[in-house]
Structure formats: structure tokens, C-alpha cells
Symmetry: C2
């Protein structure tokens, strides 16, 4: 029932995840929805979003915890996402984004759930940005998640992988360039210190 809900959310957000379509897609009797989720649709949607947090987060960890250059990790994230949305014929995207944009007065308790999922994903990515200075990892991870979510929307609108692949490639290059410049900037004083130390040592010998 949770997986059926998740699938409907990925397809058309809260608009598509009514109790009736969920019951139909899951094959479970209608009464069982209220048995397992007595608070109704929002409770079921929360469970589905938590499942997405776990599964998608695992995918992010697989990419960002590996030992690889930053640009390669970013490119892999976007191309893996492109392959996934292509497999759904561009009908299924991120369930958390879809719910976030559908939240109204009746579903406003879901906002905190969506916020929590995005925070988890950003943390997982930030932890794998070894080449980025620690103080900038959170913002860099947030930019990666934002660009990914936005490119997913453009991919669905165009029904092509292009926006994901192009955005991923450009972002990967730009992040690598910015990280290289930062390490250059931080490396230079250290190199200068080391040169001075060598020179002092040389003058003493």
C-alpha cells in the first residue's frame, strides 16, 4: 500500500494519490487503509515519503560515499536519475517535490515531512563532497539537490533526458572548477610557508 502510494505520488503528486486510486493500485481492501492508517491519507503519504527518504537516500549514499572525483559523482547522480525517469517514460519523478508543490491547508502537516527528507538527502550528499571546503559543503549539496529537482521537472516537461544530462555535466564542471580554485587559494599560503621553512633550513645548513 505504501509502495502503491509512492508510485502514485511520483506520477502526479497529491492530485493522483487519492484513497480510491491507492486502494485500486495496491489491491488491498479499502477498509485496510483506515485500519493501518487511521489518520487517513496524510498518514499514508507520510509513510510513503519516509520510504522515499530511505531508498533514494541509499542511492545518493552509494554515489557520494565512494572514492571518486567530485565531478564524476555529480555526473553519475544526474545520469542515474535520467536513466530512472527514462524508464518510466518520463511519467514519474520525485515524490517529495511533487507533494511539496501540492501542499494546501488540508495537507500542510506534510510540509515538515518533506523538509526532513530534503535535509536528509542534503546531508548525505554534503558528507561526500571531500573536495569542497567544509564550510561550503552544505550550500554545495543544497545546490546539487535544487538543480537535480529542477532538472527533473524540465526532463518531465520535455520528455527527454537532456535537461538532466546537460545540467549535471555543467554543474559537475563548475563545482570541480570552484573546488580547485578554493584548494588553490588555500594551498598557496601553505606552499609559501613550506618554501620559507625550506629556505630557513637551507640557510642554516
Amino acid at each position: 500500500m505504501i509502495l502503491a502510494t509512492l508510485d502514485l505520488l511520483r506520477g502526479s503528486g497529491l492530485a493522483g494519490a487519492g484513497i480510491n486510486p491507492i486502494v485500486e493500485a495496491s489491491g488491498a481492501p479499502k477498509g485496510s487503509v483506515y485500519h493501518f492508517f487511521p489518520a487517513g491519507k496524510n498518514q499514508l503519504v507520510t509513510a510513503a515519503l519516509k520510504e522515499a527518504e530511505r531508498v533514494v537516500g541509499e542511492g545518493f549514499r552509494n554515489i557520494f560515499a565512494r572514492s571518486a572525483p567530485l565531478s564524476q559523482k555529480v555526473r553519475t547522480l544526474f545520469s542515474a536519475t535520467a536513466t530512472r525517469i527514462d524508464a518510466s517514460a518520463f511519467t514519474k519523478g520525485c515524490p517529495v517535490a511533487a507533494v511539496t508543490l501540492d501542499i494546501d491547508d488540508e495537507s500542510k502537516e506534510l510540509r515538515a515531512v518533506c523538509r526532513g527528507v530534503f535535509a536528509t538527502w542534503c546531508e548525505i550528499i554534503a558528507a561526500g563532497l571531500d573536495e569542497v571546503p567544509v564550510a561550503q559543503r552544505r550550500d554545495a549539496a543544497q545546490l546539487i539537490v535544487a538543480a537535480l529537482e529542477g532538472a527533473l521537472i524540465l526532463a518531465r516537461a520535455t520528455a527527454t533526458k537532456d535537461p538532466l544530462l546537460q545540467t549535471g555535466a555543467l554543474l559537475a564542471n563548475m563545482l570541480a572548477l570552484a573546488a580547485a580554485r578554493e584548494s588553490d587559494r588555500m594551498g598557496r599560503p601553505r606552499q609559501a610557508r613550506e618554501r620559507r621553512r625550506r629556505e630557513r633550513r637551507g640557510s642554516r645548513s
Copy 2:
């Protein structure tokens, strides 16, 4: 009626823009919806998205057609968007993104409309990226739109302007850095050519 639809789409996508809420919000008699939009809801939503294409596009043009550094334009885009979503208490975002993520079998004709709006917006932004090499303007504009749409989602989920302001600032810096390196790279051979020309001229005199 179009503006009421647009407002509902910005709030909760297709989920919130049923004929009844539209009639209620616009104050128009129900019959008039079918009078002006005989094809029903999708036709009305199309008109609302076209209105967003025009109005939001005008805002983008105001920012990107002006004579200002690239990083300032990008920062202005994100901060203006942050101010706007803040004014709605983080309840209203981009209607085109919201519709794109809600498209199902009954509304699939809206996909082409959303694709067209995003293409228009990307073109407007690309035309103002003077500092980016021509061949890369389209991809850079696409990255800006993707990051903006994604950051809007994060802003709605967190109910703060932070994701927009932070993403805008980082993206602005990175784009300026990449553009400076490109112009550096393209400038260097030209400078070398000019130096050789001066040297030749010098040797002849």
C-alpha cells in the same frame, strides 16, 4: 477566471485547481467556465500557464536584459523570487513546475504547454548571459532555471528564503568564475597572437 486559476495552480498544482475551487475563487458563474473554455479544465489551465509565461518572462527579461555583471543578475533573480514567495507565506510557487509534476493521463496535453513555457524562459535568460560563450548560454540558462525551480521547492518545504538566497549566491559565484575562466582561456591565444603581431611589426621597423 484565468488569474484565479493561476493562483490556485501556484498554491497546489492541478490538485487544487478543480472547476469548483476556480469558480469559487473567481466569483464567476459556473456556466461561464464552459462558455469561455468549452474544452474544460485543461483549456483553462493552458490559458493560466500562458499568462505565467508572459508575466514571469517579463520579470526575467527585466533582470537579464539590463547591463549588469552576470553574478548580479543571477543573485537578483533568486532574491526577487525569494521576496515573492515570502510574500505568499511560502504557500505559492511556480505554477508551471506544479502542473508538470501533476500531469497524468487526463492532463497529458499540458506537457507540451509546460515545455513551451520553460523554453521561453530559458531563451530570455540565455539572451542576457553576455559573459558566457555563446555556445554555452543555453545550458547555462537551463541550469539557472533548474536551480531556481529546485530552490523554490526547497523554500516551500522549509518555509524560509534561505534555499533561494544561498543557492542564488553560490550559483552566481560559480557562473562568474566559469565565465571568467572561459574568457581567460579564449583571451590568451588572442593576446599571444597580438604580441606576435607587435613583435613582427617591431622587427620590421
